[in-house]
């Protein structure tokens, strides 16, 4: 009898499957004639952190950007397939992109606060949604800054310029701006790559807390970060998903040789 047939994990292999927040089906993407994603099938679990890992050019950022239609403005961009957010097909032509981006927020590699005050950065999205001023606006700005772990550091400088904050604070401010409009999903494209180790750990702590309320999709080149942070991980290579699974097993015992070579730093 082989090991596979006789082995049972101590936990009995029971894992309650979380609900699905975003379902990607048959997704194919081209820039001009160059195909960058092919046949992507992915069920992103609700209120969990899912990491997209893979070498440069594997398509992970393209995939991330498809989830809230950030590729739309790129010349020659074309996509086929479905990206289902609940009942809504994000990829379909008639989608309200502004509403989509409220529901699916994005945090980039380098913090990109607007050249406004700390307060107005967080209030920006709320004002776009019609919440111009008043106690409700103030309450939601404060709540978002609290949730982003920034309130204590900026409470006495809300009117100061956001650009005067440290990089780590700016990145948390951008997160506060994204969550102020109560999204369902937060997309994070290497959010810690411009931060020092301490700011990175602060950010990771924050993301773990946010995962209790939001679905997080994280693109990272840092394997240790993916291993520390993510509940699930998808390994992409050459525009395809090679392997998707619980981070715990992907980083100790990947099923695919390609995944193994990537996460252990071997030549291919």
């Amino acid at each position: 009898m082989t090991i596979d047939a006789r082995h049972h994990s101590p936990a009995g292999g029971l894992d309650v499957q979380p609900a699905v927040a975003l379902r990607v089906a048959g997704l194919r993407v081209w820039y001009e004639r160059r195909q960058v994603l092919d046949g992507i099938e992915l069920a992103i679990p609700d209120k969990r952190i899912t990491a997209l890992i893979g070498p440069s050019g594997s398509g992970k950022s393209s995939l991330l950007r498809c989830l809230n239609r950030l590729n739309d403005e790129i010349a020659g961009f074309r996509m086929e397939g479905q990206v289902l957010l609940g009942e809504v097909d994000v990829a379909a032509g008639g989608t309200d992109v502004q509403e989509l981006r409220r529901r699916v927020g994005m945090v980039f590699q380098r913090p990109n606060p607007f050249p406004l005050s700390v307060h107005d950065n967080v209030a920006y999205g709320l004002r776009l949604l019609g919440l111009r001023r008043g106690a409700e606006l103030e309450r939601r700005v404060e709540a978002a800054l609290h949730a982003a772990g920034l309130w204590d550091e900026v409470a006495d400088r809300l009117d100061g310029s956001a650009l005067e904050l440290s990089f780590g604070q700016q990145q948390r401010l951008v997160i506060a701006r994204a969550i102020a409009v109560e999204p369902e999903v937060l997309l994070l494209d290497e959010p810690a790559s411009a931060l020092d180790p301490a700011a990175t750990l602060h950010l990771e702590e924050l993301l773990r807390t946010l995962a209790q309320r939001y679905t997080l999709v994280l693109v990272t080149h840092n394997m240790q970060q993916a291993a520390r942070m993510a509940d699930y991980a998808a390994f992409l290579d050459a525009g395809r998903i090679v392997e998707f699974g619980a981070t715990d097993s992907l980083f100790t015992n990947p099923r695919e040789r390609l995944t193994e070579d990537f996460i252990t730093g071997r030549h291919r």
Partner: protein, 234 residues
């Protein structure tokens, strides 16, 4: 054989660090094998052993354990190994412990062998003891071979031989008790032989654990307490 593709690390230094670890474990395993072989020879010959040689070898085994242990810690701290690299380092940490204990048991057997010089026993007991010791030594050799090859089949086959060791130990135990009953004057010597037999049986268990570590490296599955040590029924 490079079943772990250690030479394919992009960082050649990391690849050679892990390769060194593996080589040092095998060198330590070789020392433990020598120690067990010497203990077995001492028992079989009934001749005085070179105690200094046994002690010196034990010191080398202990030093190897500490050095490899420290090297594992450094690899974890510097490289944060993942997947098969992580499994190899974790398995080596466990294997060091098993090898060191086998070394201790071997030393104990050698010491008892020294006391038994000039204390003849029944021939069937001596035959049984030799059979048990030979089985334990073969298990150690085959467990180390399974580690060299990182192969499931020899690891499983070696684990299954622990049942044979256990059965031989039980037979020998019954024979020793019987002889003590019949010849009370022989009790001190036969008690010593009982300890030797018990040590061989423990060595079988440690070899089984070594094989479990090999299976963990190869498959990424912890097979402890899974019933895999028992041969499948025909």
């Amino acid at each position: 054989m490079d079943r772990l593709h250690l030479s394919q690390h992009i960082s050649r230094r990391f690849g050679s660090e892990v390769e060194d670890l593996r080589r040092e474990v095998l060198a330590m395993g070789g020392l433990v094998e020598e120690q067990l072989d010497a203990a077995l020879a001492a028992l079989a010959r009934g001749a005085a052993i070179d105690a200094r040689e046994i002690d010196a070898r034990e010191r080398r085994i202990n030093a190897a354990e500490l050095a490899i242990d420290e090297q594992c810690v450094l690899v974890i701290a510097r490289r944060q190994p993942a997947a098969s690299d992580l499994r190899l380092v974790l398995a080596i940490l466990k294997m060091l412990n098993e090898l060191e204990r086998i070394g201790d048991e071997a030393k104990r057997i050698a010491r008892i062998g020294e006391r038994l010089v000039g204390q003849p026993s029944a021939s069937d007991l001596e035959t049984g003891m030799h059979a048990l010791g030979t089985l334990a030594l073969a298990m150690l050799h085959d467990a180390l071979d399974a580690f060299v090859r990182l192969d499931e089949a020899p690891a499983l086959a070696t684990m299954h031989r622990d049942a044979e060791v256990d059965a031989t130990w039980r037979r020998l135990q019954a024979m020793l008790i019987e002889r003590m009953r019949e010849t009370p004057d022989a009790i001190p010597a036969e008690l010593d032989r009982l300890w030797c037999a018990r040590s061989f049986e423990r060595i079988g268990d440690h070899c089984k654990n070594l094989c479990e570590s090999v299976l963990y490296i190869v498959h990424g599955k912890d097979v402890r307490h899974s019933g895999l040590a028992k041969p499948a029924r025909a």
